[in-house]
């Protein structure tokens, strides 16, 4: 009976395509919105990923996410260094400052101050210039997108100058950085230099970056740091998740995207179910004839389910294809859109589409279940 179901389905090309497009649309909407959501969530923790070379982040116990800076004191750094299993620990400054351009314009800027001696946390991808030129006075490295934001249309070049906190800064390198949530330019400099670019404060140490000794269990070392210093110590990945969950819990982002995803599901189901139902109604006499000829309800249910699964899989393929295509556009250089489709989104969208297929076929099944074979004798 399966091939009959298949032929019945594909025999009516218009309806067949209609159902597939409905499901493809739902797939696209669900996968694309969920991926943008994942992309945004990933952006929230992008700066943590950009700071490489340290396995452990140490911070004030009340820090809730990566931009929630509660300064530490220098003695905290020394206490971390004293914890057994800690191989090294260095300072990291992270803060917001204002850049002033030659034309007098201001722009909020994320300032990162790296340990003077080791430059731990330096940008991994330099586009222009040399990382070690940071050692020069007033030297900074800026991310490319930030540069393009500050000086739109200008070819990025080294030697460009601007001011932070009335202090002259000179760009010695351009680097790549993850897109941040706030889309502010990111400026790297030495720790001691960073303190010149911000107004004086009593405590300026934002984070302590550390690493465990070779062979030591990182999680165990984190636990020990917490125990001995009372500070919070987590791995980079843990800090990313802490940040992501903070945005998850404390912003309307998941809710808003959740609504769109749910809408995609509902609209997709409605379109697919309606077209599929019309398709079944149109063929109802054929089902009646099959029933008269002795086809049981179960085989007819199976036929409908097969048809539903067929359109679901095809529609899913098309929809995911379209979503991926959107993703490549969204992630193209220069685009500020966030798009990230992890396997989970792929699988969850697939499950949603299967649910859509099932729901769509329910009405049809019910209709075929109750159709009397006697309809075949009605003119």
């Amino acid at each position: 009976m399966n091939w009959i179901a298949f032929k019945m389905l594909t025999g009516n090309r218009g309806k067949y395509l209609g159902i597939i497009l409905g499901i493809a649309f739902a797939t696209l909407l669900i996968a694309q919105q969920a991926s943008i959501f994942c992309g945004l969530m990933l952006q929230t923790s992008g700066q943590i990923r950009d700071i490489q070379g340290a396995g452990i982040w140490v911070m004030d116990p009340n820090v809730q996410f990566s931009d929630d800076i509660k300064p530490l004191s220098d003695s905290d750094l020394y206490r971390v260094r004293g914890v057994p299993g800690v191989s090294w620990a260095v300072r990291l400054y992270k803060g917001l400052t204002r850049s002033r351009l030659e034309d007098g314009n201001f722009q909020q800027t994320i300032l990162l101050g790296l340990d003077d001696a080791t430059l731990v946390g330096a940008p991994p991808n330099m586009i222009l210039g040399n990382l070690f030129d940071l050692r020069k006075p007033d030297a900074v490295i800026m991310d490319l997108e930030g540069y393009q934001l500050l000086w739109p249309g200008e070819e990025p070049r080294i030697g460009k100058r601007f001011e932070m906190n009335d202090h002259e800064a000179e760009i010695v390198g351009i680097c790549k950085a993850s897109r941040t949530f706030q889309t502010f330019p990111v400026v790297y400099t030495r720790y001691s230099q960073a303190l010149e670019f911000v107004p004086p404060e009593r405590k300026v140490l934002s984070f302590v970056l550390a690493d465990a000794e070779k062979g030591a269990d990182v999680n165990e070392v984190c636990r020990r740091i917490q125990e001995q210093t009372g500070l919070r110590a987590v791995t980079g990945e843990q800090f990313e998740w802490i940040t992501i969950w903070y945005f998850w819990r404390n912003t309307g982002i998941p809710f808003n995207f959740g609504i769109t995803v749910a809408l995609g599901f509902v609209v997709g189901t409605a379109i697919a179910a309606q077209t599929f139902y019309l398709f079944t109604i149109e063929n109802i006499k054929q089902y009646g004839a099959l029933k008269a000829m002795g086809a049981g309800n179960w085989s007819l249910m199976a036929m409908i389910l097969l048809q539903a699964m067929l359109v679901s899989v095809t529609g899913f393929g098309l929809g995911i294809g379209a979503a991926t295509w959107f993703g490549t556009i969204a992630n193209a250089p220069g685009s500020r859109l966030a798009f990230y489709m992890p396997l989970e989104v792929f699988v969850a969208t697939g499950l949603a589409v299967i649910a859509i297929g099932m729901l769509s076929s329910l009405l049809s099944m019910q209709r075929v279940m109750v159709v009397e074979p006697a309809v075949v004798f009605q003119g």
Partner: protein, 248 residues
């Protein structure tokens, strides 16, 4: 052929079928007695609305009678569960409809193969058998055509092939010629006569068309939910049932 003493394949006793209930009640069959013999072509004739289709549906196991008993092949259809009636139709009944009711997306050969597929036969076996049958019916060159590309007469041939492919004991046809012109209708009846009516098979045809009455072995006339007369031809006896007697 069968004499009066042969065992009927279909026996209806005091069959009543009422549609709806209350004010909307329609008494389609008001107590029908009928025997249908194997190897014969029995025609059910009568004015529109007299209950022919209803009776055919009851005999074919499609409708359950409101009262009375229907037995086919010694199986009492009245008391079969709906699931068993479906299986009964699948194994023993062939159908030909006025509107052909072919599946438009399937080719002629595929359409004719459907009953075998329903019985669980593989597509390949079923198709081989249906091509053979269509070949016998002079449709060899149309086996791959879709119904939409066939004339009415050709479609009805495919439908007949479909009705016979699984060798049913009972073949029921509701107005098989009324969607066709007179000449084609005549040909179709000849075809049914020649390949459908066989020793162990009973054929029942509902028709309005008096021009094809000549093909019947038995002519059962209906009116208002009753069989009013049964006429057995070819030298067999002919008796009239008194309409008044039934009504009283």
């Amino acid at each position: 052929m069968n004499g009066n003493n042969a065992t009927p394949l279909v026996t209806c006793r005091d069959v009543v079928k009422t549609y709806g209930s209350g004010n909307a009640e329609v008494h389609a069959l008001r107590g029908v007695d009928l025997d249908v013999y194997p190897g014969e072509l029995t025609m059910l004739v009568g004015p529109s609305g007299c209950g022919k289709t209803t009776l055919l549906s009851v005999v074919a196991g499609i409708l359950r009678p409101t009262a009375g008993s229907v037995s086919v092949l010694r199986t009492d259809l009245t008391h079969l569960s709906s699931w068993r009636r479906t299986a009964f139709r699948r194994d023993h009944v062939g159908f030909v409809f006025q509107q052909f009711n072919l599946l438009p997306a399937l080719t002629a050969a595929e359409n004719a193969a459907v009953p075998l597929v329903i019985q669980g036969r593989s597509r390949r076996t079923a198709l081989a058998r249906s091509k053979e049958l269509l070949d016998q019916m002079g449709m060899a060159d149309r086996v791959s055509s879709l119904p939409g590309k066939l004339s009415g007469g050709q479609q009805q041939r495919v439908a007949i092939a479909r009705a016979l492919i699984h060798h049913p004991h009972l073949l029921v046809c509701d107005e098989p010629t009324s969607a066709l012109d007179a000449k084609t209708g005549h040909t179709i009846l000849e075809l049914l006569r020649s390949i459908a009516v066989e020793g162990d098979r009973a054929v029942m045809i509902v028709t309005h068309d008096s021009r094809i009455f000549e093909f019947a072995d038995t002519l059962a006339r209906m009116d208002d939910g009753h069989i009013v007369s049964v006429e057995r031809k070819n030298g067999r006896d002919k008796h009239e049932i008194d309409n008044q007697a039934i009504a009283s």
